[in-house]
Symmetry: C2
Subunit: 197 residues, 2 copies
């Protein structure tokens, strides 16, 4: 069965980080879906049917997040993208915090990029190697902070920003689908000669 | 006055190329808008209010393209992203073909990436240096084809695929806003050390 991924999205999500990760996973034949996290928990009545990206691109999510349909029995990978406001919404959301712990406890993979790494803090993950956008580094001093573009700590894979979204996505593809699939997806994207990933 | 950009979008547009270009221009304070190009010209009644991206991300355009509101008197830059189906739709559209010629005749900038470069052919642009996704290279043999990641030919700036979308976007930012703004936008995106652009 093809591996599957759930990528969260909210108002203020960094649309490049969301899109690069989603698209690259789909290119690797990962069954990929998005779920919207509302700014205020509770009924979705106040939420529009789309997520307002951090730079004005409006994206329609596949689902609205709930506490019943998105557990580690449903997907192999949970991704939390950045964008300051979107990551703030996600990292404070009770369902998201439980999902992060549940996925890791079930030996599924969790990816966090940019300010999305704040969810490692709010989900009370144990001290371990991790990276994030430099702007939230100070909040993550309880972790073994790295400035590598992609940091793999068991099943927690973290990254830094839009500029590292491609290597982040390829690390997720390699984990779910293997190195051959990574190479297969990489080639037709036509990266410049000398690209360091 | 801040420079402005219009990015076209259609069903089948490569959502990474669209999003990376749009988001990077917005980070450079370029007033950036998107316009939807329908598969069948004529009334928009059959089009949903969103563009179905090539890998399943649905994006809400700001406008629907018409022949009255999107000329070179309104924007400084016109961008045609790739994705085979989306680029096919755009490059065959009569309004798009006229806009490409009108922008260049008015000394405004036109950017094409990936299969979007086919619009240079369908718009009857004169022979000049150009690049594209390798998959459509054969159709562009009437141009001086290059395999550089970004090719600048006067006011026509072309590029190759998702892997070159960042250097493409930065080339557009540099043209519209200067090298200092490019450097300002580049830094907080946290590209890996050794990134060749």
């Amino acid at each position: 069965m093809a591996p599957s991924a759930l990528i969260l999205i909210a108002d203020g999500t960094e649309e490049m980080e969301f899109t690069i990760t989603f698209d690259t996973l789909v290119r690797a034949d990962v069954v990929t879906r998005s779920a919207f996290v509302p700014e205020n928990e509770g009924p979705y009545a106040d939420s529009p049917p789309f997520a307002k990206g951090s730079r004005g691109i409006n994206i329609l999510p596949d689902f609205y997040l709930d506490d019943k349909h998105f557990g580690p029995d449903k997907f192999d990978l949970l991704v939390i993208p950045g964008g300051a406001k979107g990551a703030d919404t996600m990292s404070k959301n009770q369902i998201v915090k439980k999902l992060v712990r549940d996925y890791l406890n079930a030996s599924k993979v969790v990816g966090m990029i940019c300010a999305g790494s704040l969810a490692a803090l709010t989900s009370d993950l144990p001290r371990q190697p991790l990276t994030s956008h430099p702007s939230v580094k100070a909040q993550l001093e309880g972790f073994d902070y790295s400035e590598d573009s992609v940091v793999i700590s068991g099943n927690l894979i973290t990254s830094r920003g839009p500029g590292t979204a491609f290597p982040f996505a390829f690390a997720l593809v390699e984990r779910l689908c293997g190195a051959d699939k990574r190479a297969e997806v990489f080639k037709p994207m036509v990266f410049p000669a000398g690209t360091p990933f």
